[in-house]
Amino acid sequence: MSVLTERKNRARRHVPLQILLALWCVFVANAWVFHSSIRSDWTADGLLTVTDSDRELIKALTGPVEVVIPLNLGPEIEDTLKTRVLLKSARWLEELSQVAPNRLQRPILIRVNQEGEKWAAERARRVPALEETDVDRIHFFHDGRRVSLSSEELADFRIPSALEPEGVAEILVDRTREGIESALRRLIREDQALIRISQGSGEPGLKEAGNNSMAALRKDLESRGAQVEGIRLPFVESIPGDTDLLVVVAGGVGSWEPLGASVERSIQRYLDAGGGVVLLLPGKNISGLEGMLSRSGIDVGPGLVAEEIALEQGLVRPAFVAVGRQVHPRHPVTMPFLKRGLNARFSPARVLQLSEEATPLLTTGPGAWVERDGRMAQRDPGESPSPQVIAAASEVGGGRLIVVSSWTPVLNALWQGDSRRFLLSCFHWAAGETQPLGAGREPITRRVELSAPFRNSFFWTALAVLPACAFFGGLLVSALRRRNA
């Protein structure tokens, strides 16, 4: 046998072995990465970033949580927005399930109008049973229990009425992450946080529609898994012991009566017993709780905070508005805002003067001043601008107290933006939670306006300019090639 033939035979024997070895290497590399993969979120706003708190929550789930999302929404713009929110929630649940797929399973998405049989089978399989009308909701199943979320609990929508044809339908506040977090907490924990909000002294109501109510605040808190009730402070002897958080709204759209000495005593007792209180100050009057505040290291100064507010075309105008920009770097309430900054507006806002017992949470920029007459926002020579404290926290006895310089952000029309985010974080800390609560976010608009000039220019760029550039590039190369040849 020649050397060549011997080599050929040896190669024939070796090649299958080499291929098998290569296949084994491919399998091992993929099996390793399958079990220990690293994921990173490249979205600008960290939309799909799984935080440490999310991981802890998923790991705290005691058994498999199954998620079913039956969709049957119509073609209307309202339905489109709701579908978008539900699909976004499904996407977020998929991301969460990556943390521990055996504890939180990937959502089962069923398009009811297309997959009727699958929907029927799913309904028959589930305990507690799903009804035919349980569509367009997210259903969580765990240990014989079910928690359901509707799109309204996951976001606030603005749908233009028939009278405003130029209005744009949009998602005002997106709470998908918070809503899902709350639903998962409800699945593993029976008890809900009980939040009582002051009523009966002229405060806005908790259930009425319209701008002069706190219904949006109530809905927001309930969607996070809290139970919200009103409490008529002048008529109770003491704050009920099961209250996790007392929110005192010291203001109203009509007349508001300052709280009496008995209310102050009952709040003080509640705080001493370890309760949490958030006090939202009135614009003009006294709140009636000044003595208690002073003992906690917080004094309410005279006058209102004023700032120069930027208008269009580079103009500025002084106004009774305090814009909270600087936050405390280490306090649990403000730590979530350190990276992305804050621009929380309060109007009208009182100024807080603090002693050592209290911690400033939120301070205005250096351009704010205190307008002592409270009539017109016009800085006099004696009123020098400097950062003004507009929210402070103090630990009283075993309890937690937060004072915010304005009550108006809790109104439906103003319950949005950074002031809402800041207040939700205040509520969370005062209620005794150590993990800062995500406070929902206004979706960042990444939409271009499809005006006629834009459509035209994009059309010609996409279909003519770019291909033409490539065409002439080709001609140029061809000409150069010929010249060189």
């Binding site: 080499q18 399958f34 690293i38 600008a44 939309l47 199954e66 990444r446 939409r447 760029t461």
Partner: protein
């Protein structure tokens, strides 16, 4: 290594001076430009959705699956038919160098096609807030998955001496990889089989992860191992020819 680079340079030069490449580029820009225009109208100007729609729709997958076989079909098959491959082999260049250079040249050309679409995103960034992170992850996916499809094309081109047969074979490999995703309908969420299907599914990688800004280590690892495996097989095939 040096020889591989010289060969790669030669391949790139011949690719970029070839009129066929420029015709492919013009047609690609026409089709994908129209796709972008229709997509932006369909999603109402939402740039996040535009990315998922333009880089995850039917037109995208058609271009993504069809172009690699066209780019790679002549690389080894044509040279083998004309006898140029044998000439190359006797110059002392190894089989692996030839395969790597051919694959790298076709992958670079293929990726260049997609990069040529970026000026459209530049136009959009003048009027809207384009997220560079999402564009980056999407192009990472295009690079890895496209390179793997090109590696399949090189393998197919090594297996046959006829360019058209190579294109057909390569398209079959790619479509088989593409179709794996649809097996996911057979399993329920949470099942390990489903997770493995998603691990190898190009649709899942592009549509569910990369165009949404999620970069998972599984994507580069899976597609890189697939590239290496295909190139390894292509090298073995060339070697077998040498001994035949």
């Amino acid at each position: 290594m040096n020889r591989t680079l010289i060969l790669l340079r030669r391949e790139l030069l011949s690719t970029f001076v070839s009129p066929v490449s420029w015709i492919i580029l013009v047609l690609f820009l026409l089709v994908m430009g129209a796709n972008m225009y229709i997509s932006i109208i369909a999603v109402g100007g939402d740039l996040r959705q535009l990315l998922s729609s333009a880089y995850g729709g039917l037109v995208f997958w058609f271009m993504f699956l069809v172009i690699p076989p066209l780019v790679t079909m002549r690389s080894l098959a044509e040279e083998h038919r004309q006898g140029a491959l044998e000439v190359l082999m006797v110059t002392g260049i190894s089989d692996a160098s030839v395969v790597i250079a051919k694959w790298a040249a076709s992958s670079i050309f293929y990726f260049t096609l997609w990069v040529c679409l970026l000026p459209l995103w530049g136009v959009l960034s003048l009027v809207g807030d384009v997220e560079p992170g999402l564009l980056f992850t999407t192009h990472v996916g295009i690079f890895f998955i496209g390179s793997a499809f090109c590696a399949n094309g090189i393998l197919a081109s090594a297996l046959t001496a006829h360019p058209l047969a190579a294109a057909g074979l390569s398209f079959t490999f790619n479509i088989a990889l593409f179709m794996v995703h649809f097996f996911s309908n057979l399993f329920r969420p949470g099942e390990i089989e489903l997770l493995w299907i998603e691990h190898v599914s190009a649709i899942h990688h592009m549509v569910d992860e990369l165009t949404r800004g999620i970069l998972d280590l599984r994507v580069p690892v899976f597609w890189s191992t697939l590239i290496l495996f295909s190139l390894f097989l292509a090298t073995r095939v060339l070697e077998r020819r040498r001994w035949a």
